[in-house]
């Protein structure tokens, strides 16, 4: 069963409704590009700077539909309350796994359910939440032609288990997540920075890392300039 290709048609009307309030907003075109709130601007554009009190949507958008099928049932049967939130937003199935069960779930998905290709490992930072990071695994199965997303929520400093022993490709992907977010993967064979220089401090994709921020000491020592900006 191919959820990805079968579902979107049913989903579309809902999505359009969901974006209704945004469309009805601003007859005046000045908001075409609302200023980047975080980006420092040379000259703050006054006219559109205060975020316009957008017409509040009368009702919150309907919650995304549940993801139904044999896979959620099988996973629920196997892992009980360790797996939850089976949803199919825009026809894309995703679910949440408790941190301590993540490795078993991945193993089961690979060995029993045929998800033999790990597409992506990445993270999202939610600084306001207690569990500050979502670690996202995108998995694909060649036999089922199906793509699913698995989410693990972790606190800052918690170490999710590395899946390199299940998928070799996780090696670099986890290194990148570590490099950008500082999420350490327990059991990773070679957890080093990958894109940033090895001695860099700070994790650039965290939300509290400013867009112009950098490791000044590193820049001064290695590039011989005062600042990269």
């Amino acid at each position: 069963m191919s959820l990805d290709s079968a579902m979107p048609e049913e989903q579309k009307p809902e999505g359009v409704q969901g974006s209704g309030p945004a469309r009805s907003e601003s007859p005046q075109p000045a908001a075409d590009a609302a200023p980047a709130a975080a980006a420092p601007k040379p000259e703050a554009p006054k006219p559109a700077a205060p975020p316009k009190p957008a017409p509040k949507p009368p009702a919150p958008p309907p919650p995304p539909p549940d993801w139904e099928g044999d896979l959620p049932t099988a996973l629920k049967a196997e892992f009980g309350d360790k797996v939850s939130e089976f949803i199919a937003y825009q026809g894309q199935p995703s679910f949440v796994v408790a941190q301590d069960a993540a490795h078993q779930v991945v193993t089961s998905l690979r060995d029993i359910h045929g998800f033999d290709y790990l597409v992506d490992v990445t993270a999202v930072h939610w600084p306001k939440r207690d569990e500050a990071f979502d670690v996202i695994y995108v998995l694909y199965s060649f036999v089922r032609n199906e793509r699913i997303r698995m989410k693990v929520r972790i606190k800052d400093g918690q170490k999710p288990a590395s899946v390199v022993d299940r998928y070799v490709t996780a090696n670099w992907l986890e290194r990148e997540a570590y490099d950008m977010f500082g999420v350490e993967f327990a059991g990773h064979p070679d957890l080093r920075r990958i894109l940033m220089p090895d001695e860099w401090t700070g994790y650039p994709l965290r939300k509290d890392y400013g867009i112009l921020e950098m490791d000044n000491r590193w820049v001064q020592e290695n590039l011989g300039i005062e600042s990269g900006q």
Binding site: A30, D32, A33, K41, P45, P47
Partner: protein, 151 residues
């Protein structure tokens, strides 16, 4: 046997040479002779920026709406304007455009409601200094004047 003969007579290499030989035909030459001949670029080419003026009286078309500055992902356009006390209209005072940071994406051009800001077919943007890459209103209205050399 045939294979051996091919090997001895270097047939595969000769075939390749024959292809090269066929391509000697001058009708396959597409090299552009820049700077002797300026290549013709597409009509929609996104090159040097220009602020268009009204051809009749030379007044700028810009209405100082700041839309281009807002649309630009690189925040490199600064529109300086003053409100004219009599007509209550905004008047363009200065306009700076930093070509060194521009990525010629065309979003500013799309945003301009009056066809004032335009990316033209000029592509000679080289400069001797970084400051020279920051264009002011005069430069934007007159267009760049790259040196033309005689050879």
């Amino acid at each position: 046997m045939k294979k051996l003969l091919r090997k001895i007579f270097l047939a595969d290499l000769l075939e390749g040479l024959w292809v090269t030989f066929r391509n000697q035909d001058p009708k396959y030459i597409v090299t552009e002779q820049y700077p002797f001949a300026r290549p013709k670029v597409g009509e929609r080419y996104r090159g040097a920026p220009r602020l268009n003026t009204n051809p009749e009286n030379g007044e700028t078309l810009c209405i100082s709406c700041d839309l281009c500055a807002l649309a630009c992902p690189e925040n490199l356009i600064v529109v300086g304007w003053e409100r004219n006390a009599q007509t209550k209209r905004k008047e363009l005072v200065n306009f700076t455009y930093d070509t060194s940071r521009c990525m010629f994406c065309g979003l500013c051009e799309d945003a301009c409601p009056v066809d004032c800001l335009e990316l033209t077919q000029d592509f000679e943007l080289a400069n001797y200094s970084r400051d020279g890459a920051i264009w002011d209103r005069q430069m934007l209205e007159e267009g760049p004047k790259p040196a033309r050399y005689k050879f």
